[in-house]
Amino acid sequence: MHEFSIVNALLDLCEKNAIANNATKITKVEIKIGKLSGVEPCLLQTAFDTFKEETICDGAELVVHVQDLVVYCNICNAEYTLVKNEFECPTCKGTDMSVIDGEEMMLMRLEMDGN
């Protein structure tokens, strides 16, 4: 249950961006949560709604995009979306692959008021 810590970091990041853009209020926060990032989107949503009060994000909507695991097979030179947590190329069965997406937690977009 480290969603509270993640939300704290997210709220700090929102505040930093609001100051940089002379905004007085953030109305929408869009994030991308990788399926293998280690956080639960539902808990993140609850934590955000609890801790946003009296911050720059008070009243803001959190939009969570859950990102599938996308890998690049260095043997086939092709991109795949992995359905299972098995790092094996669906085509060549090789294991030499790089993760392109699905392991990170990213702040993508902010909608703000008052600049």
């Binding site: 480290h2 990041l13 293998l36 599938d68 790092f87 993508m108």
Partner: protein, 283 residues
């Protein structure tokens, strides 16, 4: 991708996310909706008042001109501040020529006992930053064995982050050491999300925990550079298949190294210490 509000983060990869919103441009208000679904056609970006789903936002402003909205693309890791601090910690280790290792596992899988056995070999000069919710018991055990240790009591936090480790580093004399271990809070979930500034991750899996843990806690076992199967002397008493545990771990991380260990009787400790020496030599 809607060019006006840019609401689609990564169209084509996000499935079943349908949303609409209403916003203002230069004083006029309009609403539009999108489907982010590979199998459905994309709505026209300016289809007015498509009110066919549940997430319609009510953001009506009395005076749009006074409430000029601005959407900015940020694209920053949420744990960016932690990662920056982690990078700083790593530089600190590098400056002192010290190898730093993040030791993670469930509570009670033998992290501290492994460190005690490692100190007993006298082959590695090490220090430990201990993370636990409460008590100094683990740091006391390390100090009793003759190595420096600093305890971080995290209170209710279930993991160590790079800031806590940085704070801990100020309490450790690291000059002349070979290895600094960060013994993380016992937990197979949260610590995996945080870079604390170490060079690699060691994850312990003890025989009594069961060979199903890698599949059940994928993020943690995916993060492991080395998997230590601990309490191996208990294998005759548990239905634990090393072959299955390793197979599951390698599905997540095909490159993971595995060492079978029993810290109490000393099995595998030589391999472990040689591994540490080799890693240290390459730093």
């Amino acid at each position: 991708m809607c060019k006006d509000c840019g609401c689609s983060i990564n169209h084509g990869q996000i499935k079943e996310s349908v949303h609409s919103h209403e916003h203002t441009h230069d004083g006029h208000t309009h609403a539009h909706s999108h489907h982010h679904d590979d199998h459905e056609h994309h709505d026209h970006p300016h289809a007015h008042e498509h009110d066919h789903h549940e997430h319609r936002h009510e953001e009506i402003h009395a005076n749009p001109q006074l409430n000029d909205k601005k959407t900015i693309a940020v694209i920053t890791k949420i744990l960016d501040a932690n990662d920056t601090q982690a990078g700083h910690n790593r530089e600190h280790f590098n400056e002192h020529g010290v190898l730093a290792i993040n030791l993670m596992s469930s509570p009670g899988s033998g992290k501290t006992t492994l460190l005690e056995a490692t100190i007993d070999t006298k082959a590695i000069k090490l220090a430990v930053i201990e993370g636990d919710l409460e008590t100094n018991q683990d740091a006391d055990r390390i100090i009793a064995k003759g190595a420096p240790a600093h305890q971080i009591a995290t209170g209710q936090a279930c993991h160590l982050d790079a800031f806590m480790v940085h704070e801990g580093l100020h309490h450790l004399p690291i000059e002349g050491l070979d290895v600094v271990f960060i013994e993380n809070v016992g937990n197979l979930v949260c610590p995996a999300s945080y870079d604390v500034g170490t060079h690699f991750n060691v994850v312990l899996l003890s025989v009594p925990e069961g060979d199903d843990k890698p599949a059940k806690y994928p993020v943690m076992f995916r993060a492991a550079d080395v998997l230590l199967i601990t309490k191996c002397d208990l294998l005759p008493y548990f239905d634990f298949s090393i072959e299955k545990a390793v197979r599951e771990a390698r599905k997540l991380n095909p490159k993971v190294d595995v060492i079978e260990i029993d810290s109490k009787c000393g099995k595998g400790i030589d391999t472990w210490v040689n591994y540490l020496k080799m890693k240290k030599a390459m730093r």
